[in-house]
Amino acid sequence: MMTTLYVLHWVSALIIVIESVDKLHQCQGRFVDAKGCPALVLVILKGIAWIVMASASAGVLVSPFFRVNGQQVAYSVFVNPLPSLGECGVYLGFAVLVVRSWIKGLIAEINRAKMHQARETALIAEHQA
């Protein structure tokens, strides 16, 4: 049980770090393009949120490797390397949401490719007619 929790926690944290660096890059473009105070505030809040999530998740990623005299320890911002069920659940739920958004993006990309293909086929048929 503990090993499962441990692995799930670590994998969820990895997924969240991957997503957060991507989101931070998106925030960069919006930060440059932001016009006016409300838009800027929205971008800054989003950036802060993803930085907090990325740093906490990176803490989860490295925490199994921090040891004192061969013993695992919890250290400052880094979480307990042996997570509770609730802690693991929060990370896992968020990671599932992230994976859902990836699948959603992939489906949109496939649909876009299909539309593009159909449009090209129609154009060729029209040209031949």
Binding site: I18, D22, H25, C27, Q28, A58, F65, F66
Partner: protein, 160 residues
């Protein structure tokens, strides 16, 4: 290297709780302030000497450089380009924090009187600038050390 610098360099990597901190300098703080042992990154029983606080500062610096300075720009289009860019960004963030973790003790050994905010700030800057600054720094000094590898310069002064 002076005796004081050498002492600070030794205190950076305490062996267990044997090392004792010295005053308010970062060497003392890094030594675990006397009795409290500070964890270091250990992989397969090998201590890598990376401090968590410095790693964290470097990682935050990398994130901020991705957020504000566009340190890893998007190249190409499509799903595969986005995936490769994301992986690149992840590794830039992780390797920037490792750079900060290994280079900041070097700065502390050069300037032993640095206080903790200075050390964490320099770790943040190293983490943020690792992608661009470090590359340029290494290129510049490599050219200074190995002039035969310097790019050829034409009569107008511009590189060919």
């Amino acid at each position: 290297m002076s005796a004081e610098t050498a002492a600070a360099g030794v205190a950076l990597y305490p062996s267990g709780s044997a090392a004792v901190g010295s005053g308010s300098s970062i060497a003392g703080l890094m030594a675990g302030a006397g009795s409290v042992p500070v964890p270091v990154l250990t992989i397969l029983g090998v201590s890598l000497g990376l401090r968590p606080d410095i790693l964290f500062a470097g990682f935050c610096g990398a994130l901020v450089s991705i957020l504000l300075l566009n340190s890893v720009p998007l190249v190409g289009e499509g799903v595969s380009a986005r995936i490769s860019n994301t992986v690149q960004r992840l590794f830039v963030a992780l390797s920037s924090s490792v750079s900060a973790g290994y280079l900041t003790p070097l700065i502390v050994s050069i300037i032993p009187a640095m206080s903790e905010p200075w050390v964490l700030g320099s770790a943040f800057v190293i983490g943020g600038g690792a992608r661009v600054m470090l590359q340029n720094f290494i290129k510049r000094y490599a050219e200074a050390i190995y002039p035969e590898h310097r790019p050829a310069v034409s009569a107008e002064g511009a590189p060919k």
